[in-house]
Structures are given as structure tokens and as C-alpha cells.
């Protein structure tokens, strides 16, 4: 038996098919992964993401610690309480330990949300560096987390929150606010608008049922994966890892090079990689023939060489197979993907594939 979230019983009662995910018993779907996907694109769906790990960092020098630990610069959040930042946390070789979201709550409190599969090493890494900055690290295992996503998601959450909705209605994208014991963030992993709500675990089931009553569909990790892939969002462990730098993982935009005197772990290695010329790139693929793109399929690009798919699936919105692939650096618009011994034609595109319910590529 794996770890269970406070919503485990609710999932089983709703007919979820449960699978192991990084040591957690999680719902993969409640009947049809594709229908759940469409519900999020067209209306609203909810995901139990309580397996993700909330870490609170507190202390006068928390900002300083995070500026050293993160490839992105939390100084961008100065003077913006509640605002969030996406970042990679790198090892000394410039590889990605994890990708995460940092919420700046006040001058002495930052909240970080990390992936389930990496929580132990993330916490160990933060704890290793925290003492030099007198930062206290608290793992919030007492919190559950529910993501409500889709064009109707925020309305549904406001309905459930009633009078307390006033606490969150004014949130801009990528910002969070507290509402009583709840922490409500206008963030997500689907390419749709919505909230991620962190709350005391004993309240999770009530919120889950209240949302269901307003018509929000329970969605599993299967739909979460196709939604994030359409949105062109990387999945840790597939599209990047400790062995790949952000520069070859489509995450160069999340590295803050300025100011030049900010020393962060991995900086030297990334600078050397950049000045030597980045040798690979992460791109989007759209299969032009029938079939399904899958991780580890070989990609052949005429004139550039060979690469590999890092994440692939069927896009329910486009009705075609799509993928993220790591290819040699260089310009190209077409490639072939080897599927069961045959080379099938695919187009190279710049992700995302879908945003806010609409296809953004043909």
C-alpha cells in the first residue's frame, strides 16, 4: 500500500481507478481520461494534488537563501506580496533537482511547492543550505491541495467560498492569498485559468464534495498529464532531470541571468554551457500521420541528426499525437519519428499546443 491523501476514500467512492504515482495511491481517471480532459478545457475539473509537497521557509534571510538556491530570481517578487515565481532548483552541475513554484508571502515567509517524486531530495537540499542563512524549513504535511482548473473554475470556487470569495476574487494570475486557513493561488498545470487551494487536510473532503455539487468534475492524473502536455509544460523526470540543464529543457526563460553578480548554484556551469553554445533544444512535435507519440521514441531530423521524445501522448483537443522532444540545436520544421520500426512524419513546433481552451498550432 502506498501513501494516501486525505481524499483517498472519496476517490474510491467516486469510482476512480487508482495507480501508484511516486509512492502514492492516486486516481488515474474516474472512467474516461479524455472526457475529464475536455471538462477542464471547456468547463471545470478538479485534481487532488495533495501528494505534492508544501514547504514553508521562514526567516529574515529567506530571500537571500532562495536567490542562492534558485535559477530564477525571487527578487522579481520584491514588493509584490502573494506573487509567485516558477523556478528550477539546480545541482552544482547545472542539472535540475526539481522545478517548483515559489510564493512570496511577506518579507520573512516564502512558500515553495515541490513535486511528489522529488520531495525527499528537495527538502534535504534546502535543509543543507538553510542553516547558513538562518532559515527555518517546515514541511506542511498537514495541508491537502486541490487544483480547480478550467474556464469556469474560478466561478465555481467563488460559489463554494461564499462571502470569503472576496479574499481571492482580486487575485491576478500567478498570485496567491490567504483566506482563513486556506491558501488560494491562481496557478495551475493545465494551461487553463483556475486555482490551486492548499488547506488543512481535515477540510479537504468537504471542499471536494462542495465543488462536485457545483458541477466540477473530478479528474485524474491521466488528464492532468495530457493537459500539461498540450500546455507545453515540462514534467519533472521526463522532460528534465538532474542530468539535463534548463538550457536544453526549454527552460532558459526561467533562468535569471541578471543581475550578473547574483551567485546561484549552477550558474557557472550554465554560463559555460551558454558561451560554448547550447547543443540541444526541447521542441514540440505534432505527428502528421496516425499513431501515438511516446517517450523515448527516436526522432530523426534531416541535417541536424537524431533526438528523442521526452513526453508524448494523444492530444484530445487537437485529435492528434503531440510530444516534447529533445533534438540537436538548429533550425528545422520537419522530422521523422520511429514508431515500431516505421518512420512517420512529424512537424516541429514551438509549444504550447493549446492555451485557454484553444489550439494555438494548426
Amino acid at each position: 500500500m502506498g501513501n494516501r491523501t486525505p481524499l483517498y476514500e472519496a476517490h474510491v467512492a467516486q469510482g476512480a481507478k487508482m495507480v501508484d504515482f511516486s509512492g502514492w495511491d492516486m486516481p488515474i481517471h474516474y472512467g474516461s481520461q479524455i472526457e475529464e480532459h475536455h471538462r477542464v478545457r471547456r468547463a471545470a475539473g478538479m485534481f487532488d494534488v495533495s501528494h505534492m509537497c508544501v514547504v514553508d521557509l521562514r526567516g529574515a534571510r529567506t530571500r537571500e537563501l532562495l536567490r542562492y538556491l534558485m535559477a530564477n530570481d525571487v527578487a522579481k517578487l520584491d514588493g509584490l506580496p502573494g506573487k509567485a515565481l516558477y523556478s528550477c532548483m539546480l545541482n552544482t552541475r547545472g542539472g535540475v533537482i526539481d522545478d517548483l513554484i515559489i510564493y512570496h508571502m511577506d518579507d520573512v515567509w516564502y512558500r515553495v511547492v515541490v513535486n511528489a517524486g522529488t520531495r525527499e531530495k528537495d527538502i534535504a537540499w534546502m535543509r543543507q543550505h538553510a542553516p547558513s542563512f538562518d532559515v527555518e524549513i517546515e514541511v506542511r504535511s498537514d495541508l491537502a491541495m486541490i487544483a480547480v482548473q478550467g474556464p469556469e473554475a474560478r466561478d465555481k470556487v467563488h460559489q463554494v467560498m461564499r462571502a470569503r470569495a472576496a479574499d481571492v476574487k482580486g487575485l491576478v494570475r500567478f498570485a496567491a492569498a490567504e483566506s482563513g486557513q486556506w491558501f488560494v493561488a491562481r496557478t495551475g498545470y493545465t494551461g487553463e485559468d483556475g486555482y490551486e487551494i492548499m488547506l488543512p487536510e481535515e477540510q479537504a473532503e468537504d471542499l471536494w464534495h462542495a465543488l462536485a455539487e457545483t458541477g466540477v468534475a473530478p479528474c485524474g492524473l491521466g488528464a492532468r498529464d495530457t493537459l500539461r502536455l498540450e500546455a507545453g509544460m515540462n514534467l519533472y523526470g521526463q522532460d528534465m532531470s538532474e542530468e539535463t540543464s534548463p538550457l536544453i529543457s526549454g527552460l532558459g526563460w526561467a533562468i535569471a541571468w541578471e543581475p550578473q553578480d547574483r551567485n546561484f548554484i549552477g550558474r557557472e556551469v550554465l554560463e559555460a554551457e551558454r558561451s560554448a553554445g547550447v547543443r540541444q533544444q526541447l521542441v514540440g512535435l505534432v505527428l502528421e500521420e496516425k499513431g501515438v507519440l511516446r517517450a523515448h521514441q527516436k526522432v530523426v531530423v534531416e541535417g541536424l541528426g537524431e533526438g528523442e521524445i521526452t513526453s508524448g501522448s494523444f492530444s484530445p483537443t487537437l485529435g492528434k499525437a503531440i510530444a516534447l522532444a529533445r533534438l540537436p540545436a538548429g533550425e528545422a520544421s520537419r522530422c521523422s519519428v520511429e514508431i515500431r520500426g516505421k518512420l512517420l512524419a512529424a512537424r516541429i513546433v514551438k509549444p504550447p499546443f493549446v492555451r485557454n481552451g484553444k489550439a494555438v498550432i494548426n
Binding site: 481507478k17 488515474i28 481517471h29 474516461s32 481520461q33 479524455i34 491521466g222 495530457t226 496516425k290 499513431g291 501515438v292 511516446r294 501522448s313 494523444f314 484530445p316 499525437a321 515500431r340
Partner: protein, 131 residues
């Protein structure tokens, strides 16, 4: 427990086989198999005229989650493939034992069909797997 029709024959690899009046057999995947795979998004079928040996992999069903090989239950020649699945692979989920059939074969030796699992035998295979 998923539906396992009494009148069909089965393989351990989750194909079902139905004897037709004209001596041919129709082949598909079981309700249990489609449940395991989830939403079907692509089906690759054998070409008509292809000679298959029993247990040869001859088709692929792909769901959002995974690709799965389909094996020839018996030796014989492919006489028809279900072209409706090309544009609507979800039929395999909706009606695995009727409209969601995959292909038809003429058996080289009809006696080979008798050696396949009956409904009870297949139900036992499924029960064992889910333990």
C-alpha cells in the same frame, strides 16, 4: 468483474474469438483488456491477406496511456479488418464484443479454436491477474 460472454473463446493475452457461420472467426480484445488500457486513440490492424501464425503479434491498440500488442489467437489468413476503427478507435471501449471487433481470419485448422480458453477459463485468468 467485467463481462465475459459464454459463447466466445479466449486467449491468455486477452483476445476473444467468435466462430462465424461461414467458418471464419472474428477477433477482438476483451472488455477487461479495454478497461485496463482506458480511452483508445489508435488502432493498427493487420492487412487483408496476411498469413498469421498463432501467437504472432499482428495488431496494436493504443490508449492515451499505453500501446498494447494484439496476438493472433490461431493460425490462418486475415480476411477483413474493421476499418471503422481507423477514425473511431473509441468503439473498442464502447462495445468490445460487437462493433469494436478488430479483424477476421479463416483458420488453417478449425480444431485449433477448441484449444482456446472458454469463458470460465478466461475469467480465472483475469481473477488471477487482479491479485
Amino acid at each position: 468483474m467485467s463481462n465475459v460472454p459464454e459463447e466466445l473463446k479466449y486467449t491468455k493475452s486477452h483476445e476473444w474469438v467468435r466462430r462465424e457461420a461461414d467458418g471464419s472467426v472474428t477477433i477482438g480484445i476483451t472488455e477487461h483488456a479495454q478497461e485496463l488500457l482506458g480511452d483508445m486513440v489508435f488502432v493498427e490492424l493487420p492487412e487483408v491477406g496476411r498469413q498469421l501464425a498463432a501467437e504472432e503479434d499482428c495488431a496494436v491498440v493504443e490508449s492515451v496511456k499505453a500501446a498494447s500488442d494484439v496476438y493472433a489467437p490461431i493460425t490462418g489468413e486475415v480476411t477483413e479488418a474493421n476499418s471503422a476503427l481507423e477514425d473511431s478507435p473509441e468503439i473498442v471501449n464502447q462495445s468490445p464484443y460487437s462493433d469494436g471487433w478488430l479483424f477476421r481470419m479463416v483458420p488453417a485448422d478449425a480444431a485449433e479454436i477448441d484449444g482456446l480458453l472458454d469463458a470460465a477459463g478466461y475469467a480465472a485468468v483475469v481473477a488471477e491477474e487482479s491479485h
